[in-house]
């Protein structure tokens, strides 16, 4: 349904989106995950025909988003980060207006607006002015506006931002309800949201794709290893020798800033506990073991790992997470 091919967008010197490619199948929910400023919104704006790409192409339902922009635009519904609402209009008048500009035929306008209100649970607010609605209701009107013309593709930019937990659950259920019939791309910087709503997740950072997979795979793939962090005083070579244990799959040694201590993160196969063995081995080599602890990788750590460029920084952050 959506094919993105080597898409690049730069603003002068600054590259907002750098050579990204991915595809989304019909009826799929794709999560766009990344820190603020990663290029999520820019990518979405290119897909919706709001911005032209610098290089590369994107096709929606077989139409090029730039060359056949009007065709594409009539097939997508888009909720920008701030819902594009006219505060002085009633919910119904607004949805009918959107239906009209999206090209819904005159006879169907009322029906489609009614249906969108039903889906977004807005029936009891249909004559209320939008400016009198609460934040959660405004967000729902925003979503209703994105689906009012029954588009093939629905693009939602941070649909749950600023909502309270109850509203978040409602909006998530609404989005899940849309899948199947519609192809959905939604962006978020909140991991649980991606793992709970999406079939597939694209992790994007600094304009590049860091990973594409199902949330389950991403979790197991990175949770597959047990990780232990140690802090040691002594020679690096000796430490590396000490860590030559059968269970160890990966070792990462780095000197610590502002001291002669070494820090190592040791990964081993899942289900093993090598802490005792590790301590013995380190001490056996005559090194001073200052600290030893296991790190539990959460989804947040995966995210941080994938989205932080320097490995050292990632470890720091992961360690901070583990401590905090």
């Amino acid at each position: 349904m959506i094919e993105v091919d080597h898409l690049t967008k730069s603003y002068g010197e600054k590259i907002a989106v750098n050579d990204i490619s991915f595809t989304v199948g019909r009826g799929e929910i794709l999560g766009f995950l990344g820190p603020n400023g990663a290029g999520k919104t820019t990518t979405m704006r290119i897909l919706t025909g709001y911005l032209p790409a610098t290089r590369g192409s994107a096709r929606i339902a077989g139409f090029d988003v730039f060359e056949q922009s009007l065709e594409v635009r009539s097939r997508i519904g888009y909720l920008p980060e701030t819902p594009p609402l006219y505060p002085d209009m009633s919910v119904r008048a607004y949805l009918e207006f959107v239906a009209r500009i999206k090209g819904v035929s005159g006879a169907d306008v009322e029906k489609r607006a009614e249906r969108a209100m039903e889906m977004a649970n807005l029936q009891d607010r249909r004559t209320d002015l939008i400016k009198r609605l609460s934040r959660g209701y405004k967000q729902r009107v925003g979503i209703a506006q994105a689906i009012v013309h029954n588009p093939d593709v629905v693009i939602l930019d941070e649909p749950t931002v600023g909502l309270d937990p109850k509203q978040i659950i409602e909006v998530r259920n609404l989005i899940k309800g849309l899948a199947g019939e519609h192809t959905i791309i939604l962006s978020t910087h909140i991991l649980p949201e991606a793992s709970q709503t999406c079939d597939r997740v694209v992790i994007i950072n600094r304009g590049r794709i860091a990973a594409v997979d199902t949330p389950e795979n991403l979790t197991t793939q990175l949770k597959g290893a047990e990780r232990v962090q140690i802090e040691v005083r002594g020679e690096e070579d000796a430490l590396r020798d000490a860590l030559e244990l059968t269970e160890v799959t990966k070792v990462d040694v780095a000197p610590m800033d502002g001291s002669d201590h070494l820090k190592a993160i040791i990964e081993s196969e899942s289900g093993t506990d090598i802490r005792g063995k590790l301590a013995a081995a380190v001490v056996g080599k005559g090194l001073e073991l200052l600290e030893l602890k296991s790190i539990n990788l959460s989804l947040e750590d995966i995210f941080l790992q994938l989205t932080t460029e320097e490995a050292g920084a990632a470890h720091e952050a992961a360690a901070a997470q583990a401590q905090g």
Partner: protein, 262 residues
Amino acid sequence: MKGMIAIYRREMGSYFVSPIAYVVVGLFLLICGWFFFRILTFMVQQSVTAQMRSMQFGAPPAMDVPGLVLSNFFGVVSTIILFLLPMLTMGIYAEERKRGTMELLMTSPLTEFQIVFGKFLAALSLFLVMLAPTLIYQMIMASYAEPAIPWRVVWSGYLGLVLLGSVLVALGAFISSLTESQIIAGVVTFAVFLLLWVLDVGSRDSSSTWSDIVQYLSILHHYDDFSRGVIDTANVIFYVTLAGLSVFLTQRSLDSMRWRRA
């Protein structure tokens, strides 16, 4: 076409739920009414004086009071709209950009022309709504006028006002499309219109090649003929071209948003 109608309808609806249209229309009618009254009483007084003088000296023919009232009135109205229209046009795009609804319009299957022309027609319609009640003044004057009111001047004057209004509306809308701030749009539009007015006033008395050029470019200067009952195609074309150019520039300005928006 359907998209343009939808834009037009929403725009008209928004004018009449916000206080700004009522304030501007009300203010306009108040000022126009006052000026019409002052011009009328002044002209009547003048004609009475002239009549008394002609009785004494048996000299010139009676004054054409309705004709003089009309040309003065149209002159005043053309200046008033110069100062009131920025209030109507300042929000046309600035407000949409600020609210983020511009993103909705630009990701809808609408061409830039449909958006721009729909909005232009809506603002022009509001201007017509504002202008229409002043016809009542002419009807009142017509029922008492002696000699009869020159309807040709009335119609050419109103045609001129509509043409001048469409230029001002299109120009104001263009300026509004350049910024996200209504206030900035309003102030800049006001400044531009003020400059047009000053150019006109300044170039009226002097006579050099420069002042001729400035006078030709002055949009108020082209209105003079209309207010005297002369419909010159050159003036009509001047206004239509200027309005068309502004609409086109607005279209380009919208298009450029796609390229510069960060």
